[in-house]
């Protein structure tokens, strides 16, 4: 009987201590999440809460988040409380995180990656949602005849660089190409879309393509080997898993003497020869600027089209040397 009493008292004490956890560590103005309801009655709202839901810890996604935070803090200094939460690679956690944001009544949700976007879109039709690091919104949100503007409460930025230009790049660097291997991760929603588009463009030019999909870090090497055996040139889209495994891919492609054209600078500097590169940090900055406009009421999210950042053609000088390739005119070398 005494044990049960002690147990009940202890758990009650633990519950009480939760009430003390009112201050969140990342609240600069100290007013926390209640500010939204309070300042609404004043008419002139100056404090905003923004929730960031990032799907997984990853270099490109982290850069986009950082760009977003920097841009937002620059546009609205000291006025924004940002909650940055990471789902650690599990789509189910996105639902829990977004549920928390919606119940707090945040003023804007930034969804970094497709899994986060679909969870946010499903959770709320009122709170503005800005997506980033998403390649094709029409595919991600299942919109037929996507016009470039999602509408409703969703907009954002896309990391898609012109796919027809990327296909042309393959021929520009390697005019003798007959067979192109398309290397990507099957678990990446955006990669398949890019692969299909590039394959179409290449098919128009009479080039044979074949898909080589790996599931995760464990079979990257063997699938890349199969791709290297088949192809004259390998194409890698903006694929997060490929970006995490550039060393493994390079270790196969370089000895095989097969060059790779990549969709993104990070991948190119690891294992590729050339790319039409975008900077994920700049992508985040563009998203942050859009967010500032939406928060201050300057722009209406339902009319904002998806924005892109400019892409620069770049090449990897070290890889060119290793594979004995002369760089094409008009490309800038990747630094570092």
């Amino acid at each position: 009987m005494k044990k049960k009493l002690i147990a009940t008292l202890l758990s009650a004490a633990m519950c009480l201590s939760l009430a003390a956890c009112g201050q969140k560590t990342d609240a600069p103005a100290g007013s926390g999440s209640g500010s939204g309801a309070v300042s609404a009655s004043n008419g002139e709202k100056t404090q905003y809460t923004v929730g960031i839901c990032q799907l997984v810890q990853h270099v490109a996604l982290d850069a986009a988040t950082q760009g977003f935070i920097d841009a937002l803090n620059e546009a609205l200094p000291g006025q924004v409380t940002i909650e940055n939460k990471n789902a650690s690679g599990e789509p189910n956690n996105c639902a829990t995180i977004v549920n928390g944001f919606v119940s707090e009544g945040v003023d804007l949700i930034m969804a970094n990656a497709t899994g986060a976007l679909t969870a946010a879109a499903s959770a709320t039709a009122d709170i503005p949602i800005l997506g980033t690091s998403i390649t094709a919104y029409g595919v991600a949100l299942d919109i037929d005849n996507f016009s470039g503007t999602v509408g409703g409460n969703i907009s954002g930025t896309s990391d898609l660089a012109d796919l027809s230009k990327q296909a042309d790049m393959i021929l520009e660097w390697f005019p003798e190409t007959q067979k192109v291997g398309l290397l990507f991760c099957s678990a990446e929603p955006n990669s398949k879309y890019q692969i299909d588009e590039v394959a179409k463009h290449l098919a128009d030019k009479g080039i044979e393509t074949k898909e080589f999909a790996f599931t995760d870090t464990n079979d990257v090497a063997s699938v890349t080997q199969a791709a290297a055996d088949y192809s004259d040139v390998v194409y890698i889209p903006t694929d997060n898993i490929a970006a995490s495994n550039t060393e493994a891919i390079a270790n196969v492609l370089v000895p095989a003497g097969v060059p790779a054209i990549c969709g993104e600078e990070g991948i190119c500097s690891g294992c590729g020869v050339a790319t039409l590169s975008i900077s994920y940090y700049d992508l985040g900055v563009t998203t942050g600027k859009m967010a500032a406009k939406i928060l201050t009421g300057e722009a209406d999210i339902s009319t904002m089209p998806i924005e892109y950042t400019d892409a620069t053609p770049k090449y990897n000088a070290a890889m060119c040397e290793q594979l004995d390739i002369t760089p094409v005119e008009g490309y800038t070398a990747i630094e570092g």
Partner: protein, 313 residues
Amino acid sequence: MSFLTSLMNALPGAVAQGLVWGIMAIGVYITYRILDVADLTVDGSLATGGAACVMLIRAGVNPWLAVLAAMAAGMLAGLVTGLFHTRCGIPAILAGILTQLSLYSINLRIMDSKANQAVSVDKYDLLLSQRYVRTMSLDNPLPLLLVVTVVVIGILYWFFGTEKGSSIRATGANPHMARAQGIDTNANIVLGLMLSNGLVALSGALLSQYQGSSDINMGRGAIVIGLAAVIIGEVIFGKIFRNFALTLLAVAIGAVIYYIVLQIVLQLGLNTNDLKLVTALIVAVFLAIPYWKGKMFRQKIQPQSAKGGNGNA
């Protein structure tokens, strides 16, 4: 106080997620406790249920039928594991892993080679969606989930009272004795696995509608959540709920508690990079509690001379 208000606001969502995973946890309970088989297929069959349901809804099928079809797909997955185990002699854990591995490719094929298929509540007539979890309307998923949970528990309670159900329980309790009584233990193991994975796929189908998409990785870590729910339910309600139906209810409540704790952890503002560590610690604590309680009881029986009495009443 703003923490508590936002937590209260977040509770319906956490409870709804917990109930969906509760159905999955009941499926895990069947294999883990009743059949005494460690079934790792659930990571794959959860995604299979979600994938099948979403693709059917996108094709215009009635969502109820889509959910039933998803259950059938899950039962097929359970059948495969069962056949691997009973007909090929592969140990149960490995059979589960093999099926889970192959389900990755199968799920991709079901989803038309896409890793993520969205099913928006604005476009399709879904059974439930997290959009309405805070509203007081018929669209709110909570009543539906409660009804589904109760119906599932009711059907299972009836089934495990029938002769076939009892023979499955006997197979799990003492396979040698069951065989001696003339029970076909192999068939029962397969049946149990089919039933369990069917429930897991049902949960996956509901989850994909709730979250608005089915993802190839949505099953990752499912077995951990399922087992955590089973353990939490047992630890908290083990002494109170002796009835089988109530034990299943305890498992569902365990899943709800797990998700409430997860939501609290997220609201506390902890770095979400540490989320998995915190989850593991929570499950470890729940697993350790019965063991520590047992040790505390054991000290009572020691003779007076060994210790100067003990600190417990």
